[in-house]
């Protein structure tokens, strides 16, 4: 029998039961759409992470408090020792004494209302940093300058604005030289940073940067920080691995801090993470996420396939007389097998096609309305479509074979 004839007959068979055919396809539609949407979400996440990592600044080491190891005996103002955790001076010690470290930055955050003239912005992120910050985090100054070590030491009330923040406060007017009111404290604007964009969920451009000493003094960020005194949560160290290998730098920092905090290395109250560690962790997280999504999608495709098999079996039973008649007028077992296999294949392919449309549309919708970043991956479309076809053949084969093996006389006698 000519293939076009087979397709025509199968199509007619399906068209006779439009609603049922649609419901049968639903499983495949959902499966294929799920594959495409989920892959697009995971690709979007990967892309975000990729961008985040490159924007973290290259060759960065993160030294953070190890809270589980830290003693809470010491009160505010008490320095180092007795495993009191990371303090401000640790950062300077690292910058001075560790070979290969080209800069350190310390951060402390708060959120305040920022006012200039009529403009008032709530909950603006105030980031207390050290003068090395732009170098360590790869930020560029667009106007004016960043604050100096001297200004930090003297707790000078100065501010450097993120690009968007400057825009919102001053519009097209010059920001440098103005004074802004930050939570009741007047800060002189000395610089504006170049646009940087979102890094993860942090908008670098909507931040106000000020000396960390000012944050400690004026914007004590939380109960936690009040207890902590001049302790810091995180020290960023920029390193140059051309001269000194990464392992050496890390070891130097470990030894230095252990000595300063008077702890042994196995009982360290700090932990050191390299950028590579973060990349690896995030990559393995996304990989696990992707695997999970792939399984979910695979399961839904299989469920779709079982749906097709189920309906095809019902259809074979219902159409037993038709099968008997076709056999009586000359259809071979192969003709019958192909007819039903083609029906199953058509169901899965049309389902797959609708699934692709729903998937691409869904991915777009997730991106637009769900606030999720999605990137539709073309190979996922091909793969999902091919899997749908494979599912159709695989799950269509058993019913088709059952139909092909019917005895013509018994089939004709079937009520």
């Amino acid at each position: 029998m000519h293939p076009s004839k087979v397709i025509q007959i199968a199509w007619k068979g399906l068209a006779k039961n439009k609603l049922r055919s649609l419901l049968t396809m639903l499983g495949v539609i959902i499966g294929v759409a799920a594959v495409i949407i989920m892959v697009s979400i995971s690709a979007g996440t990967e892309k975000t992470i990729e961008e985040q990592i490159t924007s973290l600044g290259s060759n960065l080491i993160f030294i953070s408090q190890n809270f589980t190891r830290m003693g809470f005996g010491g009160g505010p103002g008490e320095r180092g020792g007795e495993t009191g955790g990371l303090v401000f001076d640790d950062a300077f010690a690292i910058a001075d004494q560790v070979e290969g470290v080209t800069g350190v930055a310390v951060e402390q955050q708060s959120a305040e209302t920022v006012e200039f003239g009529d403009v008032s912005l709530d909950s603006v992120e105030i980031l207390g940093t050290t003068p090395d910050f732009p170098a360590v985090r790869d930020m560029t100054i667009a106007e004016g300058r960043y604050f100096t070590q001297q200004e930090d030491d003297r707790k000078q009330k100065v501010a450097v604005l993120g690009a968007s923040l400057a825009e919102e406060l001053f519009g097209d007017a010059t920001a440098v030289g103005q004074t802004v009111n930050v939570g009741g404290v007047k800060l002189a604007v000395i610089g504006v940073l170049a646009e940087r964009g979102m890094v993860g969920n942090v908008d670098f451009d909507m931040r106000l940067y000020t000396p960390i000493s000012v944050v400690f003094q004026k914007f004590t960020p939380s109960m936690f920080a009040r207890i902590m005194g001049d302790r810091v949560r995180m020290i960023y160290a920029k390193v140059d691995t051309d001269q000194v290998p990464m392992e050496d730098i890390i070891l130097q920092i470990q030894l230095l801090l252990a000595k300063r905090h008077d702890v042994s290395l196995d009982a360290a109250d700090f932990s050191i993470t390299t950028q590579q560690d973060i990349i690896s962790t995030q990559e393995s997280t996304t990989a696990a996420f992707r695997d999970l999504l792939a399984w979910v999608a695979a399961v839904s495709l299989v469920v779709g396939g079982i749906g097709i098999m189920n309906i095809m079996l019902v259809s074979v039973t219902e159409r037993t007389r038709e099968i008997g008649l076709r056999q009586a007028v000359g259809a071979t077992p192969n003709d019958i097998r192909w007819q039903f296999l083609t029906e199953a294949l058509l169901l899965s392919l049309v389902g797959g096609l609708i699934g692709v449309l729903v998937g691409v549309g869904g991915a777009w919708l997730f991106g637009e309305l769900g606030g999720m970043r999605t990137v539709v991956v073309p190979t996922s479309i091909v793969l999902a479509f091919a899997s749908a076809a494979a599912v159709g053949i695989f799950f269509g084969f058993y019913p088709a074979n059952k139909a092909a093996q019917l005895d013509p006389i018994e089939a004709l006698r079937h009520e």
């Binding site: 007959i9 008649l325 076709r326 009586a328 006389i409 004709l412």
Partner: protein
């Protein structure tokens, strides 16, 4: 060619139920039917008429015995080969018409064509023209786009006959073709059968009714799976074939 043997069977036997209870539906049937014969098969219900027709129609296989159709031994053929024989050599007419629902008369008539591997030389247009000619032959030119549910019983049976003829079979088998029809429609169908016969068709038809059987040339009576009598119609004399065999046996 007029003398060609279409059906030749040797001790055809069909046993149903291979377990404890066995039914011998056919019990050693020897039958010889020549080209352009019109044969009626009669007999009480359960005497094996349908069983015989199914085997002659290659829808079923005998438990024992041989069946040669127009010179081709059917006995050892595979399912696909039997399907090919049904498609190209046999036109089967059922009591219950067996038309595809939701399918026009024309499409029903064309159904055997799509399974015919030997009509590759015919274009789609030629095939359609042939189907239209068949519908004209059965007087249904005005019903070609009607669905079965829009047709009377007699009309449905005529569509079925057109379908049986579409691949130019060497043998037309009809198992109680008028069984579901009133006598007027039944006589119409018989008129059509006679027509086909006069055009050269070989027809074997099962019937209960004497006035239907009266249209045939030759009547075979069945009882308990074997041939009880085989006579030319209108004569109470044995069929020449049988007489011949009786002669052979007595010699």
């Amino acid at each position: 060619m007029a003398d060609q043997t279409i059906i030749h069977t040797e001790s055809l036997t069909k046993i149903y139920g291979m377990g404890e209870i066995q039914v011998k539906a056919l019990d050693g049937v020897d039958l010889e039917i020549r080209e352009n014969e019109f044969v009626a098969v009669m007999g009480p219900s359960g005497s094996g008429k349908s069983t015989l027709m199914n085997i002659l129609g290659c829808l079923d296989r005998p438990t024992e015995g041989r069946y040669i159709l127009a010179g081709e031994d059917i006995s050892g053929l595979s399912k696909s080969q039997l399907a090919r024989i049904r498609n190209q050599r046999i036109g089967f007419v059922f009591q219950s018409y067996n038309l595809l629902p939701n399918t026009t008369a024309l499409e029903n008539v064309m159904l055997p064509m799509i399974y015919n591997r030997n009509n590759g030389h015919q274009s789609a247009v030629e095939q359609k023209e042939k189907a239209l000619a068949m519908l004209e032959l059965v007087n249904l030119s005005d019903r070609i786009h009607h669905h079965p549910k829009e047709l009377s019983g007699g009309q449905m049976q005529r569509v079925a006959i057109a379908r049986a003829l579409i691949n130019d079979p060497v043998l037309i088998l009809a198992d109680e073709p008028t069984g579901n029809l009133d006598s007027k429609a039944g006589q119409e169908i018989m008129g059509l059968m006679r027509d086909l016969h006069s055009r050269g068709s070989t027809i074997v038809m099962v019937t209960h009714e004497n006035d239907i059987a009266a249209h045939a040339q030759r009547v075979i009576h069945f009882r308990d799976g074997h041939i009880e009598s085989d006579q030319l119609n209108g004569h109470k004399t044995p069929h020449p074939n049988l007489a011949q065999e009786a002669n052979d046996a007595s010699q």
